[in-house]
């Protein structure tokens, strides 16, 4: 079985073969894998190199923790990948990006307005929560399509705050 797996912006073509063989971007490895019952702990021996990984599925992605670092991973089988490519790629959606509230809190400041141009990383909203002021930033370059909240509003986790498009 072949998979196209994306970690950060790196793509890996991974093929699982018989007899503990795995081919990654054309390179062959011998892989021994065990999983601990119910805890999500994987022990990989990749050509005898030992890697312990915690894996959980969340929002159709996989969160993988290795040596303290968390990796966000997308896995597609070959067919799904080709279909997605034909539709214009996986990550580069032509649609709008949405900034949602990562936690319940109170909007302290809204720093943008409808129609305003924003750069990736630019501050958009200041949210007070957990006794802290938290800066929410634009995930992409673009234009503010819609601001759904105003300063002083209480918001729930996951509530849509601002949409940014082309």
């Amino acid at each position: 079985m072949k998979y196209i797996t994306t970690v950060d912006s790196q793509e890996f073509a991974i093929e699982l073969k018989p007899d503990n063989q795995i081919v990654i971007n054309g390179e062959h490895y011998t892989l021994d894998v065990e999983r601990m019952a119910e805890s999500g702990v994987y022990s990989l021996l990749i050509n005898n190199r030992s890697i312990q990984a915690l894996v959980e599925e969340r929002d159709k992605q996989y969160e993988v923790q290795i040596l303290g670092e968390m990796y966000q991973v997308q896995v597609q089988d070959e067919r799904a990948y080709r279909l997605a490519q034909a539709r214009g790629g996986l990550a580069e959606s032509a649609g709008e990006a949405t900034i949602k509230s990562p936690m319940p809190g109170i909007i302290l400041k809204v720093l943008v307005e409808d129609g305003q141009k924003v750069a990736k990383g630019e501050k958009v909203i200041i949210l007070e929560s957990m006794k802290m002021e938290n800066e929410l930033r634009s995930p992409r370059d673009g234009v503010v399509h819609h601001v759904s909240v105003s300063a002083g509003a209480g918001v729930e986790k996951g509530q849509m705050l601002v949409t940014i498009g082309d």
Partner: protein
């Protein structure tokens, strides 16, 4: 000011007016001393470790702290119902509210902390300044509070620039403005007054010299009710972000024995200026020329007390309890020896790669590091939900070594072992700091994290391995889904399923 004599007597049952890791810490000390413990909990904390570890537990209301942990009457009611004869406030919440200490005394309870009067004086920046100045403690040059705008503008040249405009009632950086040129001072005063008025209902501000490249060094003190006050060395707490401490050490890289003694003696003088009893911390700013200035005194147990415990061997919480029971300090100053080095990393639920945004959610997995030289103080567990009601600290990871180098290397090892899933944590921040050249050389001040440290130059190296692990899980899921059609072929072993994938592929 002799409320102390009322405040001291043997007690056998202690109410802990707190939650989280510090409540667990206090319960452990009590159980080691044979003191029964009474926990309180809000709706969110029914399954919290402090509830499960205490001898008794009482519900005190909804999750927001203002409706539970901050309601003095509820706490006193539980003390009365449970027969507790003493109260430990922990840190945060009501720990530095003199009205709470007074209410405990009025209810006939021992308060594990200083007198309400000492809390009140040290809780007011201007009164605290006046008290310690009278005791000969150096303070950062600045003005009195309550001056008019005109008086402040007139006083500024004597202090010199850069300076800070600070709210008298302030805290957490609110109502604070740095001013680098005299031309900006009037605006800064006006802005700080507005902010202070909004945040604290009190627009009083004052001026203070802004120390450049300063370190935050604090002295742990212990005092009994017989006039004995000792210091347990210093803590280096310069690594902060938005005035939140992130990493603390004992001892400090820049404090030698002579400076330690001088700062220690000044800290003791500061404590004695308010007839301080119990554990406390005197915070100083230390400038490049090794001049130190009183910042404030925290009249309670400090989050970072464990680094001092590991290096001095003194159990500070047990000492607090003994002193509150009317005992004498177990140590004289000359018996306090510093040995080795300890570092504490505060593990918070926040994303270091995304501007340290707090991360809420349920902790689905938690494996603590262990082995030689590793201590973890935590109040969470698998199944615990990080809510917006309380702070985002998951645990304190403390590592000890014979030398600073050994402690750092051990901390790296422990950070690698620590496994938490469900929320993002700042573990990569700590790993990056432990790898940082400037941290290793001890070259940092209170501005280092915010101004000269970035996660962007961190190289993550296990993308390939993460890809393999996730792919195997995805593969397994799709195999399992297809096997539901033919359940007879299903693997019955929970353990071996993945090593079977190659057969499924044939």
């Amino acid at each position: 000011m002799n409320t102390d004599s009322l405040n001291l007597r043997k007690f056998d049952k202690l109410l802990i007016a707190n939650r989280g890791e510090i409540a667990v810490r206090i319960i452990r000390a009590c159980h080691e001393l044979g003191i029964k413990t009474v926990a309180v909990y809000s709706d969110a904390d029914r399954m919290a470790p402090h509830v499960r570890y205490a001898n008794e537990a009482y519900h005190i209301g909804p999750s927001p702290a203002r409706d539970s942990y901050l309601v003095i009457e509820k706490l006193l009611d539980v003390a009365q119902r449970s027969g507790a004869d003493a109260v430990h406030p922990g840190y945060g919440f009501l720990a530095e509210r003199s009205v709470f200490a007074q209410a405990c005394l009025d209810a006939g309870l021992v308060f594990v902390g200083p007198s309400p009067e000492a809390i009140r004086i040290m809780g007011d920046k201007q009164m605290a300044r006046a008290a310690v100045m009278a005791a000969g403690v150096p303070v950062v040059p600045g003005t009195a509070k309550g001056l008019t705008d005109e008086e402040l503008l007139a006083a500024a040249p004597q202090i010199g620039y850069p300076l800070l405009v600070k709210a008298a009632a302030g805290g957490g950086g609110k109502g604070m403005r740095p001013v680098y040129k005299s031309i900006d001072l009037a605006d800064a005063i006006a802005g700080a007054r507005r902010e202070a008025q909004a945040a604290f209902g009190d627009g009083t501000v004052y001026l203070e010299k802004l120390l450049v490249d300063a370190r935050h060094i604090e002295i742990q003190i212990l005092a009994d009710s017989y006039g004995n006050t000792i210091y347990l060395g210093e803590r280096e707490c310069s690594l902060q972000r938005r005035h939140q401490k992130l990493i603390e050490e004992c001892p400090s890289f820049v404090v030698n024995e002579d400076l330690r003694q001088r700062m220690g003696e000044v800290a003791v003088a500061a404590a004695k200026s308010v007839e301080y009893v119990n554990a406390g911390t005197v915070e100083f700013l230390l400038d490049r020329e090794k001049n130190f200035y009183f910042l404030e005194m925290n009249t309670r147990l400090q989050v970072e007390h464990p680094v001092t415990e590991l290096v001095t061997g003194v159990d500070i919480v047990q000492e607090q309890l003994r002193v509150a029971r009317g005992r004498r300090l177990r140590h004289r100053q000359e018996q306090i020896q510093m040995k080795g080095w300890a570092i504490e990393c505060r593990i918070n639920a926040e994303d270091p790669y995304n501007n340290f945004l707090p991360s809420t959610g349920i902790i689905t997995h938690s494996t603590l590091p262990s082995g030689p030289g590793v201590r973890v103080d935590t109040g969470v567990y698998p199944g615990y939900e990080i809510t917006p009601y309380y702070d985002s600290m998951i645990s304190k990871l403390i590592c000890y070594g014979e030398t600073r180098g050994e402690a750092v290397l051990r901390m790296r090892r422990a950070l690698e072992e620590y496994r938490i899933m469900g929320v993002k944590t700042n573990i990569p921040f700590h790993q990056h700091m432990m790898d940082s050249h400037r941290f290793l050389l001890g070259q940092f001040d209170t501005k280092f994290v915010e101004e000269r440290f970035s996660m962007e130059d961190r190289e993550r190296t296990n993308h390939l391995e993460a890809a393999i692990a996730a792919t195997l899980m995805a593969h397994h899921q799709s195999q399992e889904a297809s096997q539901i059609v033919a359940p007879g072929a299903r693997d019955t072993s929970n353990w071996k399923w993945l090593s079977r994938w190659e057969r499924l592929q044939k």
